[in-house]
Point group: C2
Chain length 223, copies 2
């Protein structure tokens, strides 16, 4: 596989640098220096910087979705077509959380790269992102099969909130640590996943007060 060595060297270096420092702060000169190749190599092999980013994103996006769907499928098969709602949420947020927050050693540049991509919204990625919606719709459909009586809008909101909690936890883990003076343990990824999943499920199904389903009580939020 020494066929295109510089190509893979660029991909590896770029993904790592982007994952670590974000798109804005990484120049092509940084990348080629890290990959130990010539400056012109990026343009030769990928055409342009944007095309390199796009290729990175497409590749990783497919891989992430594949992993999510694999977990989802397993959950659905375990439930004869109706997966446990907990398992669905876990399939949605688990892979990313593990890749970004796990112990240093098993953290993947891939997962962290994807988080960067979802945060910084750089031009070449923005155009591709549309497919993500289709991917999420498959999770929404699974949730509908799991809980057929649930209000569809609530399903989308819960899915949205689940991703929100997972993403923010990854992105702002430092703030949470500082805010809680270290009380919130960010090393136990399984516990974090469980917590996010539990809240998402509660957001969807658990109505501790019997608030109306379609119209969250207006009076409640006011003092």
């Amino acid at each position: 596989m020494a066929a295109d060595n510089t190509r893979t060297a660029i991909i590896t270096a770029a993904e790592r640098l982007y994952a670590e420092r974000g798109f804005a702060d990484v120049t092509m000169r940084d990348i080629v220096a890290a990959a130990d190749v010539n400056l012109a190599a990026v343009n030769y092999h990928f055409g342009s910087k944007d095309e390199l980013i796009a290729e990175l994103f497409v590749t990783r996006s497919l891989a992430t979705n594949r992993e999510r769907l694999r977990e989802l499928k397993a959950a659905e098969e375990a439930g004869d077509g109706r997966a446990d709602i907990n398992a669905i949420f876990a399939a949605l947020v688990g892979p990313t959380l593990r890749g970004c927050l796990g112990p240093e050693k098993q953290r993947s540049d891939a997962a962290r790269f994807m988080i960067r991509a979802s945060i910084e919204s750089v031009a070449p990625i923005r155009k591709i992102k549309n497919r993500e919606v289709d991917h999420l719709k498959r999770f929404a459909a699974a949730m509908r099969r799991s809980l057929p009586d649930q209000d569809p809008a609530d399903i989308f909101w819960a899915l949205h909130f689940a991703l929100a909690m997972a993403h923010q936890t990854i992105r702002d883990s430092e703030r949470l640590t500082r805010m809680s003076d270290g009380l919130c343990d960010l090393n136990d990824v399984q516990a974090i996943t469980d917590r996010v999943v539990a809240v998402a499920v509660m957001a969807l199904t658990g109505k501790p007060a019997k608030a109306p389903l379609k119209e969250p009580a207006k009076a409640k939020a006011r003092a």
Copy 2:
């Protein structure tokens, strides 16, 4: 107040442009063109581009915090020092949600600027952001007074999740709309606020299943 007209013109234009297009895509030449002043005016009045951004952020940060704390204080006074937990969360996420998602007319550049600042994490802002932690700690303290028996870690997690849900809803409202085929109504800000607050409160207090408090059940998330 025609004293320093160009100064305020720059501030207004910069805030609007940054709110609309983000920091990365707005150059000084864009700003001075929108403000209809000379290019050198920014450096003359603010010193540098970074100092302009920093001043914008500090000003707006103080204003936002002031509004949040005003609502918090009102809630605490209404409850004789122990605010309703719903009101606390509403004070935390309400101002920003209203400023960013409300009807076009009452959307504020200020709120959207702050969201940009929280998303893009540009250098001059990153250094100042530490104070935000202190601000959030005041909310955590209020929540502790409101629910003295609650596990402190759970309080921080719920606060973290509340902000996550609010922020993501603002940032990715388009994806939610597309994913739900318009089923999720993003125009009713009050309903959104109520929903975020309700989920945050549930995350904190509502344990529909009697999951152990300190250690979310491991088995639960697996199929």
